[in-house]
């Protein structure tokens, strides 16, 4: 029997996928919401194993042949195919759950109400999205004469109208789009969860037994997995837009960095309403009427500050460095080291690999035929690190979190952040090199420090600096 590997999704699709697998009796032990395991064994088929990935990584992992089968939503499949139409990817079955659509949307407070209006203007449209490849094709097909795409890690809905003209985003239905104060201009595709296969695997391996479980599930009368609500923590985004050009725009982080940021802000004179963990408003209200605040992903902040979309932002030095590795002459600069949020960006390999530093790895690599596989969230830091260390042949695998699961099967080297190193050790990984000691910092744009807003920016910087000094 052929050994078969399937990639299963974390996050949004996990509950429904787990339910489907359970009902069809193709269960995997530990495939639950709170699981800390990555590698799973099938309870039924001894030749079948699974690994849990971020949904976005699954089409890529299946297309490159690391996994024979995978389950993910159609939007991520199409995002890959938009850029790489010849990918070795087969859509095997529509699993029908987790229904939703990809929308091109504009703000209800903006001036756009139909896609036709976009193609007639000379204006350079700003499109914010987690799907940059699909966004580019959409822009071309709409015959936009000029456009710029801002790829983001999340929170696309919060950018329009002040910081982007259009957002391309996933939502369950139009009402969900409207609830974000957006108008859907065009539905690009409807997306359900799909079972996908690597083309080569499909042509050479016998996976019929596994497919039969899925077919059986699709034929069942009672499909409880269709009723499972996809658990997305939506935050509210109700506001009146602010086009006042003299306001100072501040970006604050969501996710892991939010609690320590909040704790820090409590020590400053900037008081916010709606920046609490349990009730996040993407546009918290500030006590200083000259400051406008939006909550976005920390990964996206340096680019947004470079663009002039935001004047100041609280992010990590890791993301600032990643940005500067990609755009060395960027106007973004660190203004205040805030001290909290300490992590190390490290180069990591498997315990089983007999190397202790990069030059040893390089020597091992020189005798190999295939290039070094490097997985990282910090794609630009990783690229520069490898270039600087004269690693001649390597392949970068961009990941969207949980990168430690990639080693050793799907990558040889990992560039990852860690607080204590405990998680890495638990996964049988070792730190080979420390690239950066990172803390949270306030970043700004050198150009806006010279603008008409410079006094206001300087006073906000001072508020932060004072809080750090009093600590």
């Amino acid at each position: 029997m052929d050994y078969v590997r399937i990639a299963l999704p974390k996050g949004r699709l996990l509950s429904a996928t787990a339910c489907l697998l359970k009902e069809t009796e193709l269960e995997f032990k530990d495939y639950t919401k709170d699981t800390r395991a990555y590698r799973l064994k099938s309870t039924k088929l001894p030749y079948l194993s699974a690994k849990i990935f971020q949904e976005k990584d699954i089409p890529i992992q299946v297309a490159v042949g690391n996994y024979d089968l995978g389950i993910c939503s159609l939007d991520w499949i199409e995002e890959l195919l938009a850029k790489y139409p010849t990918s070795a990817l087969l859509k095997v079955a529509d699993l029908e759950y987790s229904k939703g659509n990809l929308y091109l949307a504009a703000s209800r407070y903006g001036s756009i109400s139909s896609p036709q209006e976009l193609s007639t203007e000379q204006y350079s449209w700003r499109i914010v999205t987690e799907y940059p490849n699909l966004a580019e094709i959409t822009a071309l097909n709409l015959r936009l004469r000029r456009f710029r795409i801002f790829p983001v890690w999340g929170a696309a809905e919060v950018y329009p109208p002040e910081n982007a003209d259009l957002a391309l985003l996933w939502a369950k239905d139009e009402s969900e789009i409207r609830a974000q104060s957006l108008i859907p201009l065009k539905t690009l595709l409807s997306s359900n969860a799909f079972l996908i296969a690597n083309r080569e695997s499909w042509q050479t391996k016998n996976v019929s037994q596994i497919i039969a479980y899925f077919s059986q599930g699709l034929e069942m009368k009672n499909k409880p997995w269709l009723k499972i609500k996809t658990d997305v923590a939506r935050s509210s985004n109700s506001f009146r837009p602010d086009f006042n050009e003299e306001k100072v725009w501040l970006a604050l982080p969501d996710g892991h960095q939010q609690p320590p940021t909040l704790e820090f802000l409590n020590k400053t004179d900037l008081k916010l309403q709606g920046y609490a963990e349990d009730n996040l408003n993407r546009r918290p209200h500030s006590n200083l009427d000259w400051v406008d605040v939006k909550v976005i992903r920390p990964q996206d902040m340096p680019l947004q500050v470079a663009n002039g979309n935001f004047d100041l932002a609280i992010t990590g030095k890791d993301w600032l460095l990643d940005h500067l590795c990609r755009f060395p002459s960027s106007p973004v600069t660190e203004l205040v080291d805030l001290g909290f949020g300490q992590v190390k960006v490290v180069a990591v390999v498997s315990q089983n690999l007999p190397v202790t530093n990069i030059s040893q790895l390089q020597q091992v690599q020189d005798s190999e035929v295939s290039p070094l596989r490097v997985a990282s969230e910090y794609i630009n830091i990783a690229d520069k690190y490898l270039r600087d260390n004269h690693v001649s042949r390597y392949k970068l695998i961009p990941t969207w979190g949980a990168s430690e699961a990639f080693l050793p099967e799907d990558a040889d080297l990992l560039i990852e952040n860690t607080q204590t190193g405990k998680t890495l050790a638990k996964h049988n990984l070792k730190i080979m090199d420390t690239i950066l000691q990172s803390t949270a910092c306030l970043i700004g744009n050198k150009n806006s420090l010279e603008s008409s807003k410079k006094k206001r920016i300087a006073s906000l910087v001072k508020i932060f600096r004072r809080a750090v000094e009093n600590n």
Partner: protein, 410 residues
């Protein structure tokens, strides 16, 4: 050995390069003699130059090599030049727009992704652009120039196919589609899918008969176009384009230039507004061109009519007879086995004198075998030089560089 060349990329070996240069020299000489001036544009351009509506189709744009530059944080993408005409139009707007007429030509590579990797993703073309004239005679000038270049290359059997985007667009207009549908249909047609046109169901059958009259027939003289013009069901809107087409065709008739009228021969570029022409040799396309009166205003210039064409070097190189390619001159090998500064100095001096006398001269310090007829070896003692004539299998010692050159000359 593992192959390290990029998929879809190509090395030009000395023999290939020689062929390319031969074509290029003839192309340049012909263009210069018609009063055209050579320009070069950068390999990198902003992507938006090419996305402006009415320039390249979305399908073509999905195959360009675009990326963010090292300072591209604003999201503005740059692209490896996917087309030769648009950059030259930009160059004209930014530098030469005060010139009433600009006759420009260029030798350039363009980059277009091709997914099998079996065909070149980097293609070479020789282009000619005539900016500032809307006269039918200018369209004709370009066709005649292209044919002259092909003849100078020894290609006498090139076929010309004529089409007219103005006629085509006016015909599509009769289908009364909405703007979006019409653009989409036009995109498909420019990508070569004429089937799409027959799949549209027009409101009345008169229109569909008219379309098939235009699409199914091939004409060989301006008479064909006059016949079409005389049809009772020809809509008024079609007349100006047909008049223009017919006028150009009759000028070509007067010059005894043979062509075929084939509306379906239009391919590729949405920026064409009037006449379109294709050159083919033994069924293979070797060049194309046309009139693009709207391009310059579309990318931000003044209202300037223009037309141009490009010859595709890669297929052309296959049709050039090997003997017609440039012959390299007679080569002489200067051989020096000694490593003393004096001997090496002599070998350089000898080679220099031979080159001045018009010989291609190669230096050899490793004593290798050579196919060249003449080898001149540097000797340590006088007589200084040994002249070897490999063709006659003769050797003779001489004592001065002048004597050696004299011997080779005989």
């Amino acid at each position: 050995m593992t192959r390290q060349k990029c998929k879809g990329a190509r090395d030009l070996l000395p023999k290939d390069t020689e062929g390319f240069r031969y074509i290029e020299d003839i192309f340049r000489r012909s263009c210069l003699s018609w009063g055209y001036q050579e320009v070069r544009t950068p390999t990198l351009e902003y992507l938006y130059l090419f996305t402006a509506a009415g320039t390249l189709t979305p399908n073509m744009l999905s195959k360009v090599y675009s990326f963010l530059d090292w300072d591209g944080w604003s999201g503005e993408r740059v692209v490896l030049r996917p087309d030769g005409t648009i950059p030259v139009a930009r160059l004209y707007i930014e530098n030469l727009s005060r010139q009433e007429i600009a006759r420009l030509f260029y030798v350039t590579n363009v980059f277009v992704f091709e997914d099998t990797g079996k065909e070149n993703r980097e293609r070479w073309q020789y282009g000619v652009e005539l900016v500032g004239s809307d006269k039918p005679a200018s369209d004709v000038e370009l066709i005649v120039l292209a044919i002259e270049i092909l003849r100078n290359l020894g290609i006498n059997d090139a076929q010309i196919h004529l089409s007219h985007t103005g006629v085509l667009k006016a015909l599509l207009n009769e289908l009364k589609l909405n703007h979006g549908e019409e653009t989409m249909l036009l995109d498909q047609i420019f990508d070569g899918n004429w089937q799409a046109l027959t799949e549209v169901k027009p409101i009345n059958s008169e229109v569909s008969r008219l379309i098939s009259l235009f699409l199914d027939l091939r004409g060989k003289t301006s008479g064909f176009l006059e016949n079409l013009k005389a049809l009772p069901q020809i809509p008024v809107a079609l007349k100006p384009a047909l008049d223009n087409f017919s006028e150009i065709a009759s000028l070509l008739d007067a010059l005894s230039c043979k062509y075929q009228i084939d509306i379906t021969s239009t391919r590729g570029f949405e920026y064409y507004t009037g006449l379109c022409f294709q050159f083919s040799v033994k069924g293979e396309r070797v060049g194309s061109g046309g009139r693009y009166d709207n391009l310059i205003p579309l990318i931000g210039g003044k209202n300037k009519p223009a037309c141009g064409f490009a010859l595709y070097v890669d297929p052309l190189a296959n049709f050039i007879q090997p003997q017609a390619k440039r012959k390299t001159g007679q080569e002489i090998l200067v051989r020096c086995d000694k490593t003393t500064p004096d001997s090496i100095k002599t070998s350089f001096q000898l080679a220099q004198s031979l080159r001045q006398a018009g010989y291609v001269t190669e230096l050899d310090f490793s004593g290798r075998q050579s196919d060249e007829r003449w080898i001149i070896a540097i000797q340590e003692k006088t007589p200084l030089l040994l002249v070897i004539d490999q063709a006659r299998n003769q050797k003779k010692e001489v004592s001065s560089i002048a004597d050696a050159i004299k011997m080779v000359g005989n």
